[in-house]
């Protein structure tokens, strides 16, 4: 019970910081709603940890609910890194296009001068 309270307290701190960032307009609506949903789900999962335990036993898993949440978090992190890598690749491709255009325009200018 104490562990659950501590976990909820920590998440509440994150949510508080999130609201502050939104107030200062450091993040947009989409980011705010994404992270708010993420942390809210976290609180719900912690409150209903025993029910998750029971559900996992029902499914035939031996691990506890908290382990399950940990595995889910690792999976989510991998997914986020992967998405980030793809976004980075697209940005890199766009940077190349801009660099190429600048180089070709510069050559044209040099020729005209």
């Amino acid at each position: 019970m104490l562990q659950q309270i501590i976990a909820i307290f920590i998440i509440a701190l994150f949510i508080w910081r999130l609201i502050l960032q939104k107030k200062k307009q450091k993040i947009n609506n989409n980011e705010f709603f994404f992270w708010m949903s993420f942390w809210s789900l976290g609180i719900i999962a912690i409150i209903f940890i025993r029910q998750i335990d029971s559900f996992l036993i029902y499914l035939g898993f031996s691990g506890s609910g908290i382990n399950f949440l940990l595995y889910l978090s690792v999976l989510a992190l991998f997914y986020l890194i992967f998405k980030l890598r793809l976004a980075l690749a697209k940005t890199e491709a766009n940077i190349t296009k801009i660099a190429r255009q600048i180089a070709l325009d510069q050559e044209r200018e040099n020729k005209n001068n």
């Binding site: 890598r85 793809l86 690749a89 697209k90 890199e92 491709a93 940077i95 190349t96 660099a99 190429r100 600048i102 180089a103 070709l104 510069q106 050559e107």
Partner: protein, 220 residues
Amino acid sequence: MKIFCIIPAYNEEKNIASVITRVKPFVDRIVVVNDCSVDKTAEIVRDCDATLISHPINRGQGAALQTGNEYALTQGADIIIHFDADNQFQAEEIPEVIAPLLANQADAVLGSRFLSKQSNLPAFKKNIIMPLARTVNRLFFNIKLSDPQSGFRALNRKAAQKIKIQQDGMAHCSEIMHQLFAHKLRVSEIPITVIYHEFGQKFSGGVRIVKDIIIKKIIK
């Protein structure tokens, strides 16, 4: 027939002048794409009989080749040759490489280090890296060519128009081969000689190529 030679260059102040001098007798125009070198490459090229295009930031050899292709096409190139700036390729072999294009027997000619001519490939490269690269090409692109990573190639106008190099780094070799076959262009392999002054692409570079190929396959 307007024959252009594209030379991507990054920090090649020691070699670029001699490469230009050696290539010039065999082509109509030389285009050096300076990939934001931090040495005197650009200054040296300005004093040579070559067109200089400079990337404002370093984008990699594949990106430089695509820049060169686009420029050469706007200048009416009929044949585009890709040639390295490190003095490892033999300029005297350019006529042999472009011969199938001039005879209209191919749309693209790829130089190969593994046919009749002998290159002084480092043993690790020859026996480990190259077989692995061939496997990657077969796995990802179903390409069965003798040289999986040759940078010495020539394209006719049709091929150069169809090929869009999106791999900014060294994975462009595999990408070009893949696009040549995907566009059903006529591809020919010609033996070339490569004189290695240093090891060149390392195993880690090969790993990066595979990573780039996978990422590009996913984001397509």
